[in-house]
């Protein structure tokens, strides 16, 4: 029993990373109507930057949040205005999607060139620190991942609900032209939601640097995992996306523990398919309120 609890807890903690990535995907999908396939690669890029600042300057990864998040926001705005601005205005979403694919491979190979193909990971002094409650062992670093996940989801939720631009992002996710008709600069609204999506990649990058071993090819796999999490949680619901990530983490850990580690991917993609077939709006997704006029 206690081993089951241990497995579930580990799943939740590692799943937080999928959750953060899925929240980012959901936000970007809302306004740009594409699955931003480069999200995983952006996470890996930020993980490398955190790794680099740790190795070269000894900056604690969690302290790195202070520069990673602002950098990611600026990078996000820059990428949007240089790469996606024109494509986002086109009816055909494939151009944006292809740009994202191109960006993914470009950054993957940039990482390969800069940091080689050797997998990297951080050796942090407190990486072994554990809390033990009635036989259940949880490392502080993994617990912190859940904190990152909950903090990110809450921040995005408050942004969407409490700020003017956030309300405009929700409006634009529903009807871009109607948003423009209100006199709202919908290009800026798209740019902001994209930038916040990239900032979430920055947060996830910090988490990834502290617990994963990562290399230049890890991004694509991670993006697909985030997509699975998003499908589980349902698009258009911040906490649903996070919960989808946690659930995917639990599924993977249960599969690894009870069936065998080689079954992880089979289990997660199998469930991905089942959810898409039987619950296409996701487990926590809202059905459309009314049919669109």
């Amino acid at each position: 029993m206690s081993s089951l609890i241990q497995v579930v807890i580990n799943g939740i903690l590692l799943g937080s990373m999928y959750g953060i990535a899925a929240v980012g995907l959901s936000l970007i999908f809302g306004t740009m109507r594409i699955i931003f396939i480069a999200q995983g690669t952006m996470i890996v890029l930020f993980a490398y930057l955190v790794y680099w600042s740790f190795e070269k300057a000894g900056i604690d990864p969690y302290l790195s949040l202070l520069w990673v998040v602002p950098l990611a926001l600026i990078l996000g705005l820059g990428l949007f205005y240089t790469l996606f601005r024109k494509a986002a205005a086109l009816e055909d979403r494939n151009v944006s999607l292809l740009l994202a694919v191109g960006l993914m491979y470009l950054i993957d190979n940039l990482i390969l060139k800069l940091w080689s193909a050797t997998p990297r990971g951080l050796n942090i002094t407190y990486s072994d620190a554990m809390i033990v409650v009635s036989g259940i062992r949880v490392s502080w670093l993994r617990l912190a991942l859940l904190g990152l996940g909950l903090g990110s989801a809450l921040a995005v939720y408050l942004f969407l609900k409490r700020t003017r631009v956030g309300t405009a992002v929700r409006a634009a996710s529903e009807d871009m032209e109607a948003t423009t008709i209100q006199g709202i600069n919908s290009v800026w609204v798209c740019a902001v939601s994209f930038a916040i999506g990239i900032a979430l990649a920055g947060v996830a990058g910090v988490g990834m640097a502290t617990v994963y071993s990562f290399d230049y090819q890890f991004g694509f796999i991670f993006a697909i995992k985030a997509l699975v999490a998003l499908a589980l949680g349902g698009i258009g619901n911040v906490f649903g996306a996070l919960a989808g990530g946690l659930l995917l983490g639990v599924i993977e850990n249960l599969a690894a523990y009870y069936v065998g580690i080689e079954w992880i991917e089979v289990a997660s993609y199998g469930i991905f398919m089942l959810v898409l077939i039987f619950l296409p709006q996701g487990l926590f997704g809202r059905r459309a309120l009314v049919k669109k006029v």
């Binding site: 003017r164 309300t167 529903e174 032209e177 008709i181 006199g183 309120l289 006029v293």
Partner: protein
């Protein structure tokens, strides 16, 4: 004589290779209600969208208070007071009534008068106050149309362009919406009305233009057009026939 509030001169608009408007000219006097009537596909919505800055004309001018708007985008036009209530209402359905109204007053100028505008909207449409925190998509068709107009009022418009306000509404609700449009006009907003309910539109407008396949084919006062044999035959009573 004072310039009209809105002046459209020789406007030509196309969607790609498909021409939608030919040499459209019209004038909307400050404080008036002007109706734009005609069959589906006549180009009425295209004309409103071009005035709103959502479409670029091939040639011709949209002049507002004597200023050519060619270089202004939709946001800048809204800031000047040109506000559109789009066909099908296009509310943000998952947002609350209040959030929809807030988005109507998004620009700094409109935001500065937010409290006043909100009071004004609630006075015009008391039902919106009751439904303030409910989702826009859960309201009835008539309430949604009121919200769509209310959202435009929040922008403190000089000119409100209302596209098919009566679409999908019962005759009683249509009458009610028209009364509200007249009330809004009485408060000083100039109204440019696109309508399929031609009889009602001609009754409340001071001037009307009849469009057909991208051209303006007739114009006159509402009374004149109501009396016009061709218009009566084509639109009033005899549905389905074409001018």
């Amino acid at each position: 004589m004072a310039n009209p509030l809105l002046e459209v001169k020789d406007l030509n608009v196309a969607y790609g290779d498909v021409r939608a408007l030919w040499d459209i000219s019209l004038e909307v006097e400050e404080g008036s209600i002007v109706a734009l009537v005609g069959a589906n596909g006549a180009g009425k919505t295209t004309l409103l969208k071009t005035v709103a800055g959502l479409l670029r004309p091939l040639k011709g001018h949209v002049v507002f208070e004597g200023e050519d708007l060619a270089r202004l985008n939709t946001k800048q036009r809204v800031d000047k007071g040109i506000v559109m209530v789009p066909e099908g209402r296009r509310l943000f359905q998952t947002l609350t009534v209040l959030e929809n109204l807030r988005l109507g007053a998004y620009l700094p100028k409109a935001r500065a008068g937010y409290d006043e505008s909100l009071e004004r909207v609630f006075a015009l449409f008391p039902v919106l106050k009751e439904r303030m925190h409910g989702k826009a998509g859960l309201m009835s068709g008539g309430e949604q149309q009121m919200l769509a107009i209310g959202r435009a009022v929040m922008a403190q418009p000089r000119l409100v362009m209302i596209d098919e306000a009566s679409l999908g509404l019962s005759p009683i609700l249509t009458r009610h919406i028209f009364e509200l449009i007249v009330a809004l006009n009485g408060q000083g907003a100039t109204v440019l009305l696109v309508e399929q309910n031609i009889h009602m539109a001609l009754k409340i407008c001071s001037k009307a233009y009849v469009m057909k396949t991208g051209h303006i084919v007739l114009s006159g006062t509402g009374e004149e057009l109501l009396a016009d044999v061709d218009v009566r035959k084509a639109y009033v009573g005899e549905r389905g026939s074409r001018l």
